[in-house]
Amino acid sequence: MIPETEKPMAKPAAESDPPEEGVVLLADSGRRHLFDNPANVKRLIRGFWVACGLLLALDLLFLPGVGPLHKHMSFAEGVLDAEDWPGFFCFYGLGACVALVLLAKLLRKVIMRREDYYDR
């Protein structure tokens, strides 16, 4: 199997459409921007890990005997108890998106074609 990145998928440049009106392409001014500094990217990602951890920890407030709050369930009692598990939405979101990406990568093997597939 050829790795995805090495397959020649792009149209030859000569067949691309001519530039349209409104297009403005400038030279780089040399100014350093926020995320040009890798330290800032690191800071952002670190902040994000902390936020995720905090959100997961917030579910403790709903645990009987630990926190004072109780959940406002979507379903009637006994229909879907999983909803009340600590971290249910965290793990569902994480699992759903990992599954989504992995399945989409598999899908790519089946349905991806050259960019000018329909023109030939």
């Binding site: 297009v23 392409l25 921007h33 998106c97 990992v98 989504l100 989409a104 790519r108 991806m112 050259r114």
Partner: protein
């Protein structure tokens, strides 16, 4: 006085006039029209009707109730924003048809009978295709033609369905239709095509990315939302819509993850959002229907905002593929900001508009005890954030720096995006304003601690999946490519049918042609010469009996045969007899 005008009249008549106005005036005119239309519509009373007798049928050109009024309001707001966004467009055809397009959307939602709905339904298809063709390149021409064919098919289904419905019930009124009758089923399929049901959804992801920057904005505002309105009016509570909607919410997100053209990603994400609306309409409780309608309202605004930001990127850089973009936050910070507001709204972050409507449908599903539907929608909600909420802004404005440096979007695009963003945040923060306009009676409070926390957890951990997969380099890279979809069957399969037909029928044709020509050649050659040869033979035999010498015999026989070929006999006597007989016949019958 002005309040007596039909809400669509200003846009339709003004749209026709727009064709004849000169440059700048036309652009300003097109902003003024929807504003005027909005003022006019605010004056139209609920319950207003305009019955007309047409060829013995009772038609309702105008039916104003809370449902049609809400969609009318939405379409006017969308048209104002889109007109401001297209202030750079000089193309008279594109601007004129855009106003007619908005007018037909308004006309369709205020139509009280099926025939009027059908007229505006067709007008929608015809006027909208110019938003694609306005791009004026071969790809747009092809995509527009395919788009038009699909929408004409949708119109035909509605037309046949309404004729059958009329024969069965004797009424053209557009109320609840249901799937029990054949007519209702056909109309349902016609509506379904415009709703982008699975397998017939490809017109959307084919045409929208091919349209002009402003054209895509018009397209995403009207066509599918008219269809959602029609579905809510005609088929509320039809259970099959729940399954269709759940499927629509699920499958496009897989495509969206691997699609490179960022406007096509938005197209897939649009089908996913319509899926939520279809589930809501299918459940059919007041809360679910309100959720579907409110989500349609919000979708026009946040999807419009996303299309505007991507349109601005395309307008400024000439590129829209994720693989070609990146780092644009440096050149277009305002566009990037507005894009992120749209992304937060579609992902349903608290305080943004999607939060207050998407969960209405999900709550309605939970109230009905539909566990699988609820889990599917939750999966779709996480997936939306993944592809529309993160992927769109990330690959366009951040990711690796593509080295493209450009100017910020023009002021009028920023103004339009600003209006859209303000509405998204406004509705998210003050949902009661929107809830007060919803057609059905249902009590709903989005801002409970549980809902805010669980939704935030869902979204942050979806983002966690994205960040982790990115850092681990598992996330699929943006690649220039085409992904096959259901339209393969008519784009490639259609070509196959054409080849098969070519081989069968043209083969038959060639075979018949060749056979025919051989027969004709034989008849006119060998067969045509036969009498002469017969005469030659007979004469030869006759001369032999007479005892003529062989050389002279052959020569005389050949001369006779040649005379036979040339028609060189002395036939005066026979001709005279024939003329006399014709003359006698004429005299006889003239008596």
């Amino acid at each position: 006085m002005i309040a007596e005008l039909h809400p669509a009249a200003i846009l339709v008549v003004g749209g026709v006039l727009a064709f004849f106005l000169p440059g700048r005036l036309r652009q300003v005119w097109c902003v003024g029209l929807p504003v005027l239309g909005l003022v006019n519509m605010l004056g139209v009373q609920h319950g207003a009707t305009a019955p007309v007798e047409f060829m013995g049928h009772h038609l309702e050109w105008l039916r104003v109730d809370k449902l049609s009024w809400l969609f009318g309001l939405l379409f006017h707001i969308a048209a104002v924003i889109a007109a401001i966004y297209s202030l750079h467009v000089k193309d008279r055809v594109q601007l004129g048809t855009a106003m007619l397009y908005a007018g037909s959307a308004v006309g369709a939602v205020f139509a009280g009978d099926l025939l009027t709905l059908f007229v505006f339904w067709e007008l929608l298809a015809v006027t909208s295709v110019f938003q694609v063709w306005g791009r004026r390149n071969p790809a747009a021409l092809g995509a527009g033609l395919r788009y038009l064919l699909v929408h004409v098919a949708s119109g035909l289904l509605v037309l046949i369905g309404l004729a059958m419905h009329y024969r069965a019930t004797g009424s053209l009124a557009f109320g609840h239709l249901g799937l029990e009758s054949e007519g209702g089923l056909l109309i349902f399929m016609g509506f379904g095509i415009k709703c982008a049901f699975p397998l017939v959804h490809t017109w959307l992801v084919d045409a929208y990315p091919a349209a002009t920057p402003s054209g895509a904005l018009y397209l995403c505002s009207f066509t599918t939302k008219v269809a959602v309105y029609a579905m809510a009016r005609g088929f509320a509570g039809e259970g099959v819509l729940i399954g269709i909607g759940a499927l629509m919410a699920m499958f496009p997100i897989f495509y969206a993850v691997i699609e490179n053209d960022l406007r096509r990603v938005l197209g897939y994400s649009m089908i996913n959002q319509i899926g939520f609306m279809m589930v809501g309409i299918g459940i059919g409780t007041p809360l679910a229907l309100n959720g579907a309608v409110a989500h349609a309202f919000n979708d026009v605004l946040f999807k419009g905002l996303l299309f505007m930001s991507m349109g601005a990127v395309l307008y400024r850089t000439g590129k829209i593929n994720g693989s070609d973009l990146g780092g644009l936050y440096k050149s277009m910070p305002w566009t990037a900001g507005f894009c992120m507001v749209g992304a937060a709204s579609i992902s349903a972050f608290p305080l943004f508009s999607g939060f207050v409507s998407k969960s209405m449908v999900m709550s309605a599903a939970a109230d009905g005890g539909m566990v699988w539907v609820w889990l599917a929608l939750l999966f779709a909600a996480a997936g939306v954030f993944h592809h529309a909420g993160i992927k769109i802004p990330f690959f366009a404005f951040f990711a690796h720096d593509s080295g493209i440096r450009t100017k910020e979007a023009p002021w009028h695009m920023l103004l339009a995006m600003g209006l859209g963003a303000a509405l998204c945040i406004g509705i998210g923060c003050f949902p009661q304003v929107l809830y007060g306009l919803l057609p059905w009676e249902a009590d709903y409070h989005p801002y409970t601690i549980t809902h805010v926390l669980s939704q935030t957890q869902l979204l942050f951990f979806s983002a966690l999946a994205f960040v982790s997969l990115m850092l681990l380099k598992i996330y699929p890279p943006e690649l220039r490519s085409v992904n096959l979809d259901a339209d393969w069957f008519w784009r490639k399969g259609g070509a196959g049918v054409l080849r098969a037909v070519d081989v069968c029928f043209n083969g038959l044709n060639r075979w018949a042609h060749a056979g025919m020509m051989r027969t004709v050649a034989w008849v006119s050659g060998w067969g045509g010469d036969a009498p002469a040869r017969l005469v030659g033979r007979a004469a030869g035999g006759w001369y032999r009996l007479q005892g003529v010498a062989p050389a002279a015999r052959e020569e005389r026989a050949a001369r006779l045969a040649q005379r036979c070929r040339d028609g060189g006999f002395r036939v005066g006597l026979m001709a005279g007899a024939a003329v006399l007989m014709v003359a006698a016949g004429i005299l006889w019958f003239r008596r």
